[in-house]
C-alpha cells in the first residue's frame, strides 16, 4: 500500500503544472473570445486562486513520494518539526 501511495505521488506532482497550463490556456482563449471586463475579472480570479492550490498539490505529491504519508501521526508528540 505504501508503494502505491508513493507512486501515486508522482501523479499529483504532474497534476499541478498540468492544471495550471490548462487553466491559463483556457483563460487566455476565453478572454480573447469575449474581451469584456467581467470575463477578464472572472478568469484572473480563477488563475490567481487556483495557482497556489496547484502548487499545494505538487507539495502534497512530493510528500507522498518521500513517504510522509506512509504513517500518519496519531498524537501531537509526532508533530515535532
Amino acid at each position: 500500500m505504501n508503494m502505491i501511495k508513493r507512486i501515486a505521488g508522482v501523479l499529483w506532482i504532474i497534476a499541478g503544472p498540468l492544471a495550471i497550463y490548462y487553466l491559463v490556456k483556457t483563460a487566455v482563449a476565453e478572454i480573447n473570445r469575449k474581451p469584456l471586463i467581467d470575463t477578464k475579472i472572472q478568469w484572473t480570479v480563477f488563475v490567481i486562486v487556483f495557482i497556489p492550490i496547484a502548487i499545494g498539490i505538487v507539495i502534497f505529491g512530493y510528500y507522498a513520494v518521500k513517504g510522509e504519508y506512509d504513517h500518519l501521526p496519531e498524537n501531537s508528540a509526532e508533530i515535532t518539526d
Binding site: 499529483w12 492550490i53 504519508y69 498524537n75 501531537s76 518539526d81
Partner: protein, 513 residues
Amino acid sequence: MNQPTNEVQSIRKIIAASSVGTVIEWYDFYIFGSLATVIASQFFPKTNPTAALLSTFATFAAGFIVRPFGALVFGRLGDLIGRKYTFLLTLIIMGSSTFAIGLVPGYQTIGFAAPIIVLILRLLQGLALGGQYGGAATYVAEHAPPGRRGFFTSWIQTTATLGMFLSLGIILITRHVLDPDLTKSISKFNSWGWRIPFLLSILLVIVSVYIRLRMKESPLYVKLKTEGKTSSNPLRESFAHRSNLKMVLLALFGATMGQGVVWYTGQFYAQSFIENSCKIDFDQSRTILLWAILFATPFFVVFGGWSDRVGRKWIMLVGMLLAIVTYRPLFGKLLSTADEKNKTEILIKQEINTNLKPIAGTQNSLRTTITRHFLDKGMVLTETKTDTAYADPGRATVKPEVKVSKLLGTTDYWTMIVIVFIMILYVTMVYGPIAAFLVELFPTKIRYTSMSLPYHIGNGIFGGLTPFIALLLTTIYTGDKLVGLYYSIIVAGLSFLIGALYLRNRIDSDVNN
C-alpha cells in the same frame, strides 16, 4: 447517575448556543447571494461600468477569496486568545455588516459611495464567515465526550443548510406579505422590502450574542492555557512545519475539496440549474429546495453519529462516489421532468394577452405578449415576449426578448424534490462527519487555524466557485447542458482517489493530544 445526565444537558446547551449563532452567520451570508439580482439593481447599475465591476468583485472576492483569509486571521486569533471570544467576534462582525447592508442608501441616492460601502461590508462578511465555522466546530468537539464527537459536531454541520433554509424562507415570506396583491408585493420587495431580511439579522444576532456571552471557554483550551502550552505562532506551526502542513494538505485534497463541490452542487448549483436551465418558476424552484432540505437535514446527525461507530472516512468517500456516479443521471432527470416536449399541450386552454405601453418621446410602443400554455401533468408554461411595436408599419420589429417560466404539476414537483433530496443526502454524507474528522486531525493548540484553512479552501474556493465554473463550462461547450457537472465530478473524483489512498479510518479517542 446525575453526572452523565448533567454532562448531556451541558453539551446540549453548548450545541444549541453554538448552533444558533452559526445558523445566523450562514443566514447572513446567504441572503446577499440569494438577493444578488435585487442588490445589483440597487447598488451596482449595469449602466455604470465601474459599479458593475465592483459587483463582480463583491460576488467573487468576498464570497470566495476572502474566506480563507478569514480562516487565517480568526483561526490564529482562536488559537491565541481562545475559541469563545473569537467566534463571538465573528458573529458580531457578520451581524453588523449584514444589518449595515440593509441601511445603505442606493446608488440613486448617494451615487458611487453605495457600491463601495456594500463591497466593503460584503468583504467583512466573507472574513467573518472564514472565522466562524472552525470556532464553532472546535468548540463543540472539545466539549464532546470521546466516542460521540461525530454525533455532537454533526449538529454544527446542520447549521449551514439551516441557514440557507432560513434565508430562502424569510425571502419568500417577505416577497409575499408586503401587499395583498402578489405583483405589487414583489414590486415593493424589489424596491425596498429586500432590506427587511438584512435588518432582521440584528435581532437574531443580539439573541445569539447574549447566549454566547454566557458560554464558557473550551475546557481543552483552558487546560492548555493554564499549563502555558498554547501556541505562540499558530500560523507558523500550522503551515511552516512539515508534519502539520502535510495533514493540512491531506485534509484539503483528500476530503474538503470533494466535500465542497458535492455540497455546492447539491444545494446551490441544483437550485440555479432548476431555475435557469429547467426554467422553473422563481418560487417553485426555491420551495423544491426548501422541502428537500427539510427532509434531508436530519441525516447530517444520522451520518455524524454513525461515523462514531464505523469511522469518518468511508461515509464521506461513499457520499463522494455516489455523487460522481449519479450526478449526470440525476440532473438529466431534472431536465427531462421540466421538458415541455415530453408533455402534450391542451390547446383549448391556451391564453394569450398582449399589452402595449407607449414609449415616452416616440410614437412607438413596448409590446408585451404573455402566452400561457397548459400541458398535461399540470404544467403551465408562461412565455413572455417583449419587443417594440413601431408606429411605422414599414419598419420590421427586432427579435423579441423571450422569457420562459414553468410551473410544475404536483407529480413533477415532487419528483424534483426527491431528486434534490437525494443530492442533499450526499451532502449529509460528506459533510455530517467532517467536523469531527478535521478536529481529530490536528492538535488542540493549533486546531482552529489548521482546520479552518483547508475547510474554507475546500468549501469557499472549490465549492463556492462550482455554480460559476459550471455555468462557464456550459457557455464554452454549448452542446451538452450537463457539461457543467464535469467540474464537480472531476474534483470529487480526485478527492475520492486521494482520500481512499491516504486517509485512515481511525477515530481519535483523545483530541487532547
